[in-house]
């Protein structure tokens, strides 16, 4: 055991030396700060009211440029925003969808959306080329955005991130929150403290008061950023609640199984000596 400890220590020191030697050039590139989220940790679940606020921010602001390729029906997900069936139906109907098949005259036509439809692309940018022409870069589809953004944590932090009780899995949400709060240079709408290289194609999208919340939450940029980051986390990982619930039962079962197997093993081997 002693030898093992020494070896592990030696490995850790080697790695730490290497990471110190490599960890330069991060001077003026701050890393997003870790925020507290309702869906982090062993028993984390999404906060329904927060997801609804986040959706409101998406719908009123982000959706002008960003697509969200999820079906309307998922907004009724009881582990998600949990809108009522009627609300989802009304929401879907407020969109005009290009029908997949032409009508019997052979014409492509538009119709009102149904809950089974996927959110259509923004009116202004029906395809990513149109958006790229306007911004120099196409605004990404937001359905997986929270999973598609991470940042380097560096040694030894990335080790702790995997361990129980620390379990840092919300980097995507922190990144989105940080970017929305990162427009700190007045007079330059495309300067962002957290974007690599500080030059971001998206001009500051949202400021205090841009969205009127109906549940009394202050209409502040900080809340918008937090709520929309939570909503996008749900959009990219809608099964998180179920996963953690099942996971806890699986863990209890496996620990019990391992203990019983250990006792059986001890018993069987004790007959040997």
């Amino acid at each position: 055991m002693n030898r093992l400890t020494t070896s592990i220590l030696a490995l850790a020191l080697t790695a730490m030396g290497a990471s110190a030697a490599l960890g330069q050039d991060a001077e003026d590139q701050p890393k997003p700060a870790r925020q507290s989220w309702s869906f982090s940790g062993l028993f984390g679940t999404y906060d329904q009211a927060q997801l609804q606020r986040g959706f409101q921010v998406y719908k009123e602001v982000c959706s002008n440029c960003h697509r969200l390729s999820i079906p309307f029906r998922t907004l009724a997900d009881p582990n998600g925003p949990a809108y009522s069936e009627a609300q989802v139906k009304a929401l879907a109907a407020s969109y005009q969808i290009v029908n997949d098949e032409p009508n019997d005259k052979g014409e492509i036509f538009k119709r009102a959306g149904t809950p089974a439809d996927i959110f259509p692309p923004p009116d202004a940018y029906p395809n990513s080329q149109a958006a790229a022409a306007a911004f120099g870069k196409a605004p990404p589809d937001m359905w997986l955005l929270a999973k598609a953004r991470k940042y380097e944590r560096g040694f030894p932090w990335f080790v702790f991130d995997a361990l129980p009780f620390d379990q840092y899995q919300e980097m995507g949400a922190d990144y989105i929150y940080a970017i929305l709060n990162g427009y700190t240079k007045s007079g330059d709408a495309q300067w962002n403290a957290y974007y690599p290289g500080h030059r971001i194609a998206m001009p500051q999208p949202i400021v205090d008061g841009a969205v009127a919340y109906t549940d009394g939450t202050p209409a502040k940029l900080d809340n918008y950023a937090r709520d929309v980051a939570a909503f996008l986390s749900w959009a990219s990982e809608p099964t998180l609640d179920t996963r953690k619930k099942i996971g806890f039962r699986v863990m209890i079962f496996l620990f019990a199984l391992a203990i019983l197997l250990y006792l059986t093993k001890k018993r069987i081997w004790s007959k040997l000596h």
Partner: protein
């Protein structure tokens, strides 16, 4: 070991069947009566863990293949369809992606255990080489599986790895075009990777069969590295002793596996793979999965592409020659004080290379990677051959039973009393 018929069927139908196909006798002699050294530690449960992981990967993979669409335009969306719309699809997919990592984690423990205890030495050379073949097949399978979701890192990885073949003089470009089924990684590449990703696991299963067969001919090595002398004193029956110990090992391993699947399922996934592949947009920082990082670091450490590819191949192929590179007649690192130090340095080189493989290229990183790559090859090509000549090893125990008894009753059993 399977020659002696230890199994006697009791029922008439059992006798009738056994005289026509003695499969129950084979199972009995291999997994029930098979003698196992009594001093095996928990590192030896990783064989069973690996067998379990192969089964788990095949079962989850077969289910995923029922819902996955191997098409450049639909693959990415079909994976998200599995994650969102298929009942428990998220569970099956997370079991499979994290299962690949758990499989490699277990195989690395298994391999380093083999090196530390000299398990590749006579009479287990063929057993070891079969293991290296399994490892190669695993890498090919994992690489092709990683391409299937058609994320941007999948695409970049497929491009980087298949481009290695262009380093071959004269025919390189032709070989690469042949692998791609076109002039770049595209739809035909994805389809053949899917086909091979489904085929290779069954080839692995076949070689695993040979691996276990070879194991049952030579018997298991053990922490003392001395061969079984007296089956009565030195060994125990596979069932129940090894079976229950393996089951306990698997159950502990499952706890770690479940932790990844249920609580940190995307920890090992690259964020760029949640962006659909786009041949026009390459990720800023191309990295393979963690289990291939040391080899990636060796590849990048060498400025010449062809030499780099050769070094990458040699880093793996040399492992097959370990039985002859290691000239020491003593198997276990327990009795090799100098080997032990170099062994841990070798492990440190592998881990260090892995870390560097994940970092962006810089002068310092390349320099350190070169030193560590020298350490990697130095261990295999210089240290191991020389240690056999110069190392002063510790005295070996007379038998496995003696070593076990010395541990439990140190007062009486520290070898015979010194002569006067």
């Amino acid at each position: 070991m399977s020659g002696t018929p230890s199994y006697v069927p009791k029922s008439a139908i059992g006798k009738w069947f056994e005289s026509r196909l003695p499969i129950m006798g084979l199972v009995h002699s291999s997994f029930v009566a098979f003698p196992v050294p009594r001093n095996l530690n928990y590192l030896w449960t990783f064989g069973a863990i690996l067998a379990f992981m192969l089964g788990a990967q095949i079962v989850t993979g077969v289910i995923l293949a029922m819902h996955y669409v191997p098409s450049a335009t639909e693959a990415f969306a079909s994976v998200e369809h599995i994650m969102r719309d298929v009942n428990f699809g998220w569970l099956i997919r997370y079991l499979h992606t994290n299962g690949a990592s758990m499989f490699f984690f277990a195989v690395y423990v298994h391999m380093f255990r083999g090196i530390y205890y000299g398990s590749y030495k006579a009479p287990r050379e063929v057993l070891w080489i079969l293991g290296v073949i399994i490892y190669l097949l695993m890498m090919a399978t994992a690489f092709m599986g990683y391409v299937l979701p058609w994320g941007s890192m999948s695409f970049a990885g497929a491009t980087v790895i298949t481009n290695l073949f262009t380093a071959i003089p004269l025919v390189g470009t032709g070989v690469a075009h042949w692998l791609w089924g076109g002039y770049a990684v595209g739809d035909p590449t994805l389809n053949r990777f899917f086909s091979l990703h489904y085929l290779l696991p069954f080839m692995i299963a076949g070689v695993v069969g040979l691996h276990i067969w070879a194991l049952h001919v030579s018997g298991q090595n053990n922490p003392e590295g001395v061969e079984v002398k007296d089956v009565e004193r030195d060994t125990v029956a596979f069932t129940p002793y090894a079976t229950i110990k393996d089951l306990f090992g698997v159950s502990v391993f499952l706890i770690v596996y479940a932790w990844f699947v249920f609580y940190i399922p995307t920890y090992l996934l690259d964020a760029d793979n949640s962006v659909q592949a786009n041949p026009l947009v390459t990720p800023a920082h191309i990295v393979p999965e963690w289990y291939l990082l040391p080899f990636y670091a060796i590849l990048r450490a060498i400025p010449n592409k062809l030499v780099g590819v050769v070094a990458l191949g040699a880093a793996i192929v040399l492992l097959a020659f370990l039985p002859w590179l290691d000239t020491s007649s003593v198997k276990s690192g327990k009795y090799r004080p100098v080997f032990r130090v170099f062994f841990w340095l070798f492990v440190a080189c592998c881990v260090g290379l892995g870390y560097l493989g994940s970092q962006e290229v810089s002068d310092t990183a390349t320099l350190i990677a070169r030193i560590l790559a020298l350490g990697y090859f130095g261990f295999l090509l210089v240290v191991l051959p020389l240690l056999g000549v110069f190392e002063k090893t510790k005295p070996l125990p007379a038998s496995i039973a003696d070593a076990v008894l010395a541990k439990t009753k140190p007062a009486e059993a520290v070898a015979p009393p010194a002569s006067h």
